[in-house]
């Protein structure tokens, strides 16, 4: 889908140039029109493979190959999942991934947040504005989030921590009713009743189709020395795909610009 994640976001308040905020779809539409003004063409297709071994490079959509002298990859990332059947079945029915979007629907309710990094703690804090109780379930014995977030969360009376514990099942038929938890140290298994489960256990970069053609690290991120180059000259990455830290529209646009300038330089040098 043109626009990616932000096309699905209701309100964007932190993109420069829009002092009153703007909706995600509107922002996407403006960007698309601007790119079209410079001659960009949009194909709403899923790339199913790439041929990066020699130039011109190829991008495959099933049988059709699109060729280019250079390629910019901006495939973003997807939320990491627990890998449970119940999680998929109850997605949107109590299981959710974005507190900003759905926290309001959990007013006065009990929500379990799974994770222990910056995003988990931030989401837990966002939830406390509405939820009655927030349980943060983490598989380790301490948070890996930054100190400022950790401090705020520790002082928040609504947030309770459950350490060394994993979620082994989400309970409920039509909507979330609880989670089954397993303590990693004691092996103790127990059930916690809740109305919602927010998953914040990280992201998986969408790099499947590039593996074997570009160097990728053990977590699936494309190896890069300056943030936008790759192991293959003429192929660049940008946006959330290779961003483990900031993940904002403005930073995605910034790295997109860097990648575009690299392409320009690369093509000029190749002549």
């Amino acid at each position: 889908m043109v626009g990616g994640q932000i096309a699905l976001t209701y309100q964007v308040d932190n993109y420069p140039g829009f002092p009153d905020g703007i909706t995600g779809p509107e922002l996407v539409d403006l960007m698309k029109r601007q790119a079209e003004g410079f001659g960009a063409e949009f194909l709403e297709e899923e790339a199913t493979g790439v041929i990066l071994g020699s130039t011109p490079f190829g991008v495959l959509v099933d049988e059709t190959e699109y060729q280019g002298r250079s390629v910019i990859i901006a495939t973003g990332s997807k939320n990491r999942s627990l890998g449970l059947e119940s999680e998929e079945r109850l997605m949107g029915r109590g299981v959710f991934v974005c507190a900003t979007c759905d926290a309001l629907l959990y007013e006065g309710k009990r929500v379990v947040v799974v994770g222990g990094g910056d995003s988990a703690v931030q989401e837990a804090l966002d939830l406390t504005r509405f939820a009655k109780e927030v349980y943060l379930v983490h598989r380790r014995d301490r948070l890996s989030a930054c100190k400022c977030l950790t401090d705020r969360a520790s002082q928040d009376e609504k947030i309770k921590f459950i350490w060394n514990t994993t979620v082994t099942e989400i309970l409920g038929e039509k909507k979330v009713e609880g989670v089954r938890l397993s303590n990693q140290e004691t092996g103790n298994v127990w059930t916690l009743e809740c109305d919602g489960v927010l998953l914040a256990i990280g992201w998986i970069p969408n790099t499947e189709i590039f593996r074997g053609q570009l160097d990728v690290d053990e977590r699936g991120y494309i190896t890069s020395t300056n943030g936008v180059d790759t192991s293959r000259a003429g192929v660049y990455v940008c946006g959330d795909l290779n961003d483990r830290r900031y993940r904002q529209v403005v930073t995605a646009c910034g790295s997109g610009c860097m990648a575009a300038l690299e392409v320009e330089r690369y093509l000029a040098e190749k002549g």
């Binding site: 959710f96 979007c101 629907l105």
Partner: protein
């Protein structure tokens, strides 16, 4: 979802559409919660005031239209009986 939702009337004419933003007001939020909405976007289908189906999560236009058609079809009786809403 907005851009997709707005195209629905073109594809499925025999329904009325209403959009509700849970961020707008407490009333909206309470109404959504009363109907068991736990995530955005959720589309609820009513016939004669009865809740006859829901679609939770994002869909491409084609998929959404076909799932809505299924919900509508399974309730043809209800639709046949219903008087047009003004």
């Amino acid at each position: 979802m907005n851009p997709i939702f707005e195209q629905l009337p073109e594809h499925l004419q025999d329904a009325k559409y209403a959009k509700m933003n849970v961020l707008d007001s407490t009333e909206n939020r309470n109404l959504a919660m009363e109907h068991g909405v736990m995530g955005t976007p959720t589309i609820k289908v009513f016939c004669e005031g009865r809740d006859i189906g829901e679609i939770v999560g994002f869909r491409a236009l084609e998929k959404l239209v076909s799932e809505l058609k299924d919900i509508f079809a399974s309730r043809e009786d209800c639709i046949a009986q219903s008087t047009p809403l003004e």
